[in-house]
């Protein structure tokens, strides 16, 4: 288990670096796909099979396909010249990097920092079924947030349609 986690963590770091380091946009997008697949494997190792499937179907399979789709259509290879980075980018990078490193450091020092375990232990979930327990939680206890989120997505979809239709006229 520890070896597996170390392998996936290394994969995550490499692909995350790839997202910013590759020169061609399509390679950046694909590194992000690899990163999301690695995240899905992490969910799997945490016994969250449904989240694994949702992560792969929604992010790697749908969202990122559209990213790659648009990159291939625009083919921005010639438009973007990375060139020497301007000073501002470095400053932002350093500031946020230090903040993030400090956060990680706090976590590393306090290794006993784990959340309280809730009612959904692995045994309970395996008895009910993974999909069933996620579904029950989403549509009973968290029904209101789920519905609010769906309305939010609906607004985004309507807005996208409006923009597209106005363009055609």
């Amino acid at each position: 288990m520890v070896v597996g986690f170390a392998l996936v963590a290394a994969w995550e770091l490499v692909t995350a670096a790839g997202v910013v380091a590759f020169r061609r946009p399509i390679h950046n997008a694909l590194a992000l796909v690899g990163n999301m697949l690695g995240l899905a494997v992490l969910f799997l190792m945490l016994n969250a099979q449904f989240l694994f499937a949702a992560q792969v179907i929604v992010y790697a399979g749908a969202v990122m396909v559209l990213f790659v789709f648009i990159i291939a259509l625009m083919n921005p290879v010639s438009d973007i010249t990375l060139g020497p980075a301007r000073g501002g980018e470095w400053i932002y990078g350093i500031v946020f990097g230090v903040i993030f490193a400090a956060l990680l450091g706090v976590l590393l020092v306090n290794q006993g920092l784990t959340g309280r375990s809730g009612p959904f232990t692995p045994e309970v979930i395996n008895a009910v079924g993974n999909v069933q327990s996620v579904g029950t939680a989403l549509y009973t206890k968290f029904l209101f947030p789920v519905e609010v989120t769906s309305v939010l997505l609906l607004i985004a979809a309507v807005g996208a349609v409006y923009l597209a239709v106005r363009r055609i006229r």
């Binding site: 061609r24 399509i26 694909l30 796909v33 697949l37 099979q49 449904f50 694994f52 499937a53 949702a54 792969v56 179907i57 790697a60 399979g61 749908a62 396909v65 559209l66 790659v68 789709f69 291939a72 259509l73 079924g129 993974n130 999909v131």
Partner: protein, 335 residues
């Protein structure tokens, strides 16, 4: 996760991959033979008795062909694309139970008739196919060719659109069976196959499945008359064979899922024939439908295809899902 589990799973995976590759080889022969008969021709009949060695001859030919590559390609992605397609196709068979109901007793071990029996079940298949889209898309992108790119754009638009209808048309089955595990779904069909109460869902699944595998009459991504060969125009030799393989294996998998989910899997009437044979017979019947459609129907126009997916199949499968849910709740008397 003991060593025994790992070894048994690896052996089962090897058997399944071997079976799928053989199935792919003979599916090409089956397609050519059936199509020939439908068009009043004899079909391949020179290599071996009834042309039975034709797949081997084709395989050898493809193997020894030199692979030409386009200039200006994306070297890494050009090689990666066919691998993604084949891996996605092969790994989605892992969840399909071939027989049952109980496990097989062999050398004192109880062995299930599947590679893995995960509790997300069919979601595994949907997840793997959604990654498989990348294979086709990257092939078109990395080839540095107009035809390939157009084919790839068409195929990814088509696969994403029909994936919605495909997934939703399976939801009524989950509602009736109360589980996503394929073994549970087949066991729930012991008395009635789900095709009987859910015929509209089966029909929607079949259409969406044919579109998802890019087969005629929905084979727009490789429409010869407009796009040369679509996304695999620039691939030749073994690399082309990998795409070919992925397409045929995907046909086998869509048929297997339909068998397991709608046609009662290994259950057959009157208890004649053991389970695996029933499974095989049903899969072959569905594959025959694939070939039959290809020999019968002309290719659709692209805008019609997208309209069919979004304006007909998608709302119909949503409606089917809601009706099933209401009927099930009403039958349980809690409404």
């Amino acid at each position: 996760m003991t060593l025994e589990v790992v070894v048994v799973t690896l052996i089962k995976a090897a058997i399944v991959i071997g079976g799928l590759l053989t199935g792919f080889a003979y599916l090409t022969l089956f397609e050519r033979k059936v199509q020939a008969r439908l068009q009043q021709r004899p079909g391949p009949n020179r290599v071996g008795p009834w042309g039975l060695l034709q797949p081997a001859a084709d395989g050898l030919k493809l193997f020894f062909k030199s692979s030409s590559t386009p200039s200006g390609r994306d070297r890494f992605l050009y090689l990666l694309a066919p691998l993604i397609s084949v891996c996605a196709a092969l790994s989605s068979f892992a969840i399909i139970p071939i027989s049952g109901p109980g496990p097989l007793r062999l050398f004192g071990h109880s062995i299930g008739w599947y590679v893995m029996n995960v509790n997300i079940g069919v979601l595994w298949y949907l997840a793997v196919t959604s990654v498989g889209v990348f294979g086709i898309f990257l092939a078109g992108y990395a080839s540095n060719s107009k035809y390939s790119l157009l084919g790839a754009l068409r195929s990814s638009a088509q696969m994403i659109s029909y994936e919605m209808a495909l997934g939703l048309s399976l939801v009524p089955v989950f509602i009736l069976a109360g589980s996503l595990r394929l073994v549970d779904i087949v066991n729930a069909q012991h008395t009635w196959w789900f095709i009987i109460p859910l015929f509209p869902a089966f029909f929607l699944y079949l259409i969406a499945g044919i579109a998802e595998t890019n087969r005629a009459p929905f084979d727009l991504p490789e429409a010869e008359t407009e796009l040369v060969a679509g996304y695999h125009t620039e691939y030749s030799g073994m690399r082309f064979a990998l795409f070919f393989m992925a397409e045929y294996i995907n046909m086998i998998i869509v048929s297997s899922i339909a068998t397991v989910v709608f046609l009662g899997g290994w259950w057959g009437p009157f208890g004649i024939l053991p389970g695996p044979w029933w499974f095989l017979l049903k899969v072959i019947a569905l594959l025959y439908v694939y070939v039959w459609l290809r020999a019968t129907l002309p290719r659709m126009r692209y805008d019609r295809l997208m309209a069919l997916g979004w304006k007909s199949l998608f709302p119909l499968s949503l409606a089917m899902m809601m009706i099933t849910a209401v009927v099930v709740v009403a039958a349980e008397g809690t409404l």
